[in-house]
């Protein structure tokens, strides 16, 4: 591979973080910027909680819980258990160690730091080597319109367990938010390769794309996405259920079509190889490979394959 690479990874939570950590394993800190969805962020118990930023920090610092799929390894729940006794809200699972992240971030924000600055300080303390930035320093809040009414994202996702039928997803205040300064600077320089990690299109990637000016900023860069849908199922989370409720084809093709006009290339799993011609017909190059990341070796291999594929001259 060529020496001077610049990559912008755009990621939501767990699924995206896997590929982001693969990219971090094969790229130097100066070659990769990871921009993270903050549409899931919310205020809870007076704390500013940024689930996707935390997942990235925990994954890249090797602290993520490998079994549960979210939060920190070796986590305990004593505060939450006591909070339930006291009649406080316990629907959002706040671990004792995780709580420190929210307390510290909230303290930094109250002291006047931007979310970018607070994230950089937390990530540095955790030993993360590659820069992680929020999509925007301004608050953008994803809300979900359903058959049972509108919910703030975490209410829909955690409290309602994604059960209501989704009618629409909105990204509140996205029009007033601009890309985070480090993200803007990263794209404004030599145009990076943009990798949309395998995250939920509606809940993780679209909030990033909804930030005012973001699509224009990404416009002149080559953009590749890795499908979060494999074999008609979401590897994690409610993406497949949502796509069905929104009347979209629950397939890699459906995701490719959703990103049409933005993508130069699309990466699908061997299981979905039959969809290659249809996706190619959307005007994208298609890489067919193993996209399910079970361990660190899978992540690194997929990251290398995506980079190699995008370094090839377009056929």
């Amino acid at each position: 591979m060529n020496a001077a690479r610049r990559v912008l990874a755009i990621s939501g939570g767990v699924g995206g973080a896997k590929l982001a950590s693969g990219l971090a394993a094969v790229l130097a800190p100066g070659e990769l910027l990871i921009a993270v969805n903050t549409g899931d962020d919310f205020e809870h118990l007076g704390l500013t909680i940024c689930p996707d930023l935390d997942t990235l920090m925990y994954t890249l610092s090797g602290r993520a819980d490998p079994v549960r799929g979210w939060g920190l390894a070796d986590e305990t729940w004593h505060c939450l258990d006591s909070l339930a006794v006291l009649g406080g809200p316990d629907w959002f699972r706040l671990g004792d160690r995780d709580l420190a992240t929210h307390l510290r971030r909230s303290e930094l924000l109250r002291a006047g730091r931007t979310l970018s600055e607070a994230t950089a300080e937390l990530a540095r303390a955790l030993g993360v080597r590659h820069p992680i930035v929020p999509m925007s320093d301004a608050p953008v809040r994803t809300s979900v319109d359903t058959d049972r009414g509108s919910f703030a994202f975490q209410e829909y996702f955690v409290r309602e367990r994604c059960e209501p039928v989704v009618r629409a997803v909105r990204y509140e205040r996205a029009a007033d938010a601009g890309p985070a300064p480090a993200l803007r600077a990263w794209i404004d320089g030599e145009r990076p390769l943009v990798v949309l990690c395998p995250s939920n299109p509606y809940l993780s990637v679209d909030p990033v794309l909804a930030v005012a000016g973001m699509r224009e900023l990404l416009g002149s860069s080559p953009v590749v996405a890795v499908s979060p849908i494999v074999g008609g199922r979401a590897l994690k989370g409610p993406a497949a259920k949502m796509m069905a409720e929104l009347g979209v084809s629950v397939s890699a093709y459906g995701v490719a079509e959703h990103y049409r006009g933005l993508l130069r290339a699309f990466v699908i799993d061997r299981e979905d190889a039959a969809q290659e011609p249809a996706i190619a017909a959307l005007g994208m190059r298609v890489l067919v490979t193993d996209t399910v990341m079970r361990d660190a070796a899978d992540r690194e291999r997929l990251a290398r394959e995506v980079l190699r594929f995008m370094a090839e001259p377009a056929r």
Copy 2:
């Protein structure tokens, strides 16, 4: 003892909580109101922390740690350990379970509850049977002027470990604070017996007395204090060191003199029996007994003795 008793216990933290729990063991919930110092309260990490209210709630609900002398039994410190890793403040020892109290209280206060209401809700959830009220719903903040400058109470007490030499103690905003409604109502009815529990006079009881209108309110009630100084030493905390630095006699007599004009009676330990005549000469009845409370039986016995002594006709 007579059936219709009304007692107001005024307490600071650990020492006072022992006698308060003894009184709670021998009095029905309708016979006892416990008013608690809130001069130690502070804002930390965005949380409103009320150490003395918490100590009373934890002690009366049987959840206090019996060895450490503060906080909850079976406590863990995972959040605090992680907070330290993240560069957050770890000088104030926040336990994982204790943290739930602060999170829930802060949430209730943000929702518009008064400190009295929030305390009642927390105490009820913990199973405390007797009413515990803050001295005031308005914030009063104890600050300590020392040879190293002025400190907010918790900075002096915890962060500086009471090392600076005390010149004066101030109760900020006490002049703007009034007694909590339940406390005022309790005194305004049939005048209760007022028991100043064995707490630090300067840091625990004086903040209560400094609340605007409190001395007048207590004025027509019989007031008895139990000395927190035994044998020239404080049973717990910096009372003796502070009294010496303030040029006061470090003795039960010194405490009695400090409360002169307010007290009808004073309770001292057998170890200090020789001081009885001098204290009596201040115009107080004196009960000499065993005042060191090592276990629940000691607490209950001392509570009974104080009540019996105050029920006797003045000699």
